[in-house]
Symmetry: C2
């Protein structure tokens, strides 16, 4: 994972993580902090989320360090220069020596469910906050959006090809490969992004651009030249001048064209007309591929209106998750440990209450479908249900086999089948039931009483 050039570099953090760490270092030497990461409220249009980005978080923790250059920067920082060499020396040797518990990557989850827990000396646990939230939030946003798009694309029970096309509108090259990976996990067939193809071994696909068609004397010449070089894989873009006229030229370019692409206009009526033209011209096997600001809502409407579409290229609205551009992800201290002492903590800021103590999540099924989840104290003895949080890193060492993308993809697909249909509704998802154990409710009441 060398390509992620900032891997493990601790300077990717907020200043306050370092100032707080300084205080912890001098005041709290043997205290461990237990932090959990969860999403507070699901966006209105999200009935579930797909946990994504764990592999990056794990690699980050395993490689955690400050470079010498970073330490020099800290020493000269106006807020830190007075803080004492002992602290900088400590930071120079800092590694992650704690534990990570997490849901397996690809797990479907809901609001207020911790997806990961860090148990570590408090400086280590605090200083990774910024990066952990960063890895999980965006990847989860995109995997979730992609899962909804995948769901909409087969709403009539028919499988259609979906390719991720968002590299140009992602916020940078790294986001673009995150997005390709997250959408592949969620069921996409591939990406147009070559870098993602190389790094994650995701299949890559492509068509042609309007600029290509414009470069030739005529549309038909552009088609013919492309086919000359790419006879097997050519997908001809037919809407540069006039989509219907474009469709009529396809037969002149060759009989075995893989597909045509439509990128504009009233897709439902145009795709039907194009299908008729292709069929009339004896090209029943030539597919229709559609792109252009697509999302789950448009795709759903295409299919409900029987548009004869065989595949979709989805970019901008996927990689920006435009109808829910962020998640209210948080990383909060829930417990302090020192020797045998354990102090479970909670905060009560308005609308931002947290339950105290390390937790576990039990998922209960009924008739092969997910029925409800129960969040319990980690050490609580409750029978039944599947335990979602498993140990990934123990005392700084990886104790878990990170699954490959194909495995994660299958895992996601199986879970989506188990999700109640109403929770998957793209327009108005119903709320999946997440209960908190009586013990947790009591702990919260207790913490509230003790708060000073």
């Amino acid at each position: 994972m060398k390509f992620l050039c900032n891997y493990g570099k601790l300077l990717f953090t907020d200043l306050y993580e370092i100032t707080m760490s300084a205080v912890y270092f001098y005041e709290f030497k043997d205290t461990w902090g237990i932090f959990e990461l969860w999403v507070r409220n699901l966006p209105e249009k999200r009935g579930y989320l797909v946990f994504c980005g764990l592999e990056f978080a794990v690699n980050y923790l395993l490689n955690l360090h400050f470079t010498e250059e970073e330490i020099e920067f800290l020493k000269k920082h106006p807020s830190l220069s007075h803080i004492g060499d002992q602290f900088f020396e400590y930071l120079s040797g800092l590694k992650f020596t704690g534990n990570l518990y997490a849901m397996p990557e690809g797990t479907v989850f809901f609001e207020n469910e911790p997806v990961l827990r860090i148990e570590a000396p408090i400086v280590e646990a605090q200083i990774v906050e910024t990066a952990l939230l960063n890895f999980i939030t965006y990847n989860t946003s995109v995997a979730t959006k992609a899962s909804r798009i995948k769901y909409a694309s087969q709403i009539d029970g028919k499988e259609r090809k979906i390719v991720e096309f968002g590299a140009r509108r992602a916020s940078d090259f790294l986001s673009s490969i995150y997005a390709a990976r997250a959408s592949y996990i969620a069921g996409f067939d591939g990406t147009s992004n070559m870098l993602a193809g190389k790094i994650f071994k995701i299949p890559t696909f492509g068509t042609m651009a309007h600029s290509f068609v414009l470069s030739f004397k005529s549309e038909i010449e552009a088609f013919k030249k492309y086919i000359k070089y790419f006879p097997q894989t050519a997908i001809l873009l037919i809407d540069t001048y006039d989509t219907i006229q474009g469709a009529k030229k396809v037969k002149m370019a060759g009989k075995d064209i893989k597909a045509v692409r439509i990128d504009s206009g009233d897709v439902i009526s145009i795709s039907k007309e194009v299908r008729e033209i292709l069929d009339r011209d004896g090209m029943e096997k030539t597919g229709i591929f559609v792109s252009g600001d697509l999302d789950e809502y448009k795709i759903y409407q295409f299919i409900k209106n029987s548009a004869p579409i065989d595949g979709f290229g989805v970019g901008t609205k996927l990689v920006t998750s435009d109808d829910a551009p962020y998640l209210g992800s948080v990383y909060k201290l829930v417990e302090l440990r020192k020797g045998n002492e354990r102090k479970k903590v909670a905060k009560f800021s308005k609308g931002k209450v947290t339950y105290p103590g390390a937790k576990q999540i039990l998922r209960f099924e009924e008739n092969g479908k997910f029925n409800h989840d129960l969040v319990i104290s980690e050490d609580e003895d409750v029978k039944g249900g599947e335990r979602l949080l498993i140990k990934i890193i123990e005392n700084g060492n990886l104790v878990y086999n990170l699954p490959d993308l194909e495995n994660i993809r299958n895992y996601v697909s199986k879970q989506i089948l188990k999700l109640p249909e109403s929770v998957k509704d793209i327009y108005n998802p119903s709320k999946y039931e997440v209960k908190f154990s009586e013990r947790l409710e009591k702990l919260l009441a207790l913490a509230r009483k003790e708060a000073i």
Copy 2:
């Protein structure tokens, strides 16, 4: 700029850029393509955009190359393996040998105005599409959002401190430093992001987290310990348990506290109450800093309602530009050149019309304010107005001094002053007038007639 580890690496592109390039390579050896990059329609809530990301695009073009590993990947790619060694050899030595014209970074611009133009051998001009759109789109989104936030923060004529807090919710570490840089350019005072601070020399600021307060036996102890180590810079977070009670404890922590932070609740009424408490306790100089899902709309309301706030930390909604999470940026072929021949091209896809030929933009002022822009053919002779597109790269060489961040920041600030107030309205911006020259309209009509 080594930190941007993918700098210049050409594999960050879409497959179709490479397949099209193969056809160009074999068919179009001496043809140059002229491409322009612009934003089609401004999002509803955007009266203007701030051009950002040019420095990254320039460095990308100057360092453009395929690595050996990348070439090996291409050679084995199922869509490309048959395409011939000549092409791969050409790609191995590929550099950018063309010209780049662009608006200076930080220029305010409007819909359908080309912000940059590439003139290069057509393969070079085509293959950079994905990366150029990627660099410009996100950076411009964030700079624009930040500019609106800055504007709202001083709507009563009083300057307030604004710090970028979005690292955790940005889509990855690179986006996070892009966002810190873009918002600094747009007038922010700094960032919490240490990596951005180091790389771009942006001032970094921080406060403390709820976890810090929770780590101590009492809120007051947390305050005292923090001040012990950071007496000059401490900003005490007072809403962990109860904001009003928290405010009352500040005087016990010390008299010269820089500021308190409020991160939740009804900020308008709470900030007034907190101000009263601080003043009553003789802490008139202690500022009030507010954070928590802020954006230009909330900040505007705070100030309109006379909330006594001295500074803002703005994160999530800035780095995701949540009310306009993407821009309709496009990169389109407008002209082909071969020897002395010039062919101006245009596409007519529904709702996606482009004007043919290389262009220039003239900005006209009246009474010290921007009055309107006129888009003309590059070679058109029109008097007056400021020419916005300047030469940055000529035959692959940098011929322009990239300004430093402070200069860009000043440039943005001066332009924002010149923008009509109605265009800056954050709720309902009026449309700035952008005209297209008669010559361009004629060229478009002509191209439409000739389209086959």
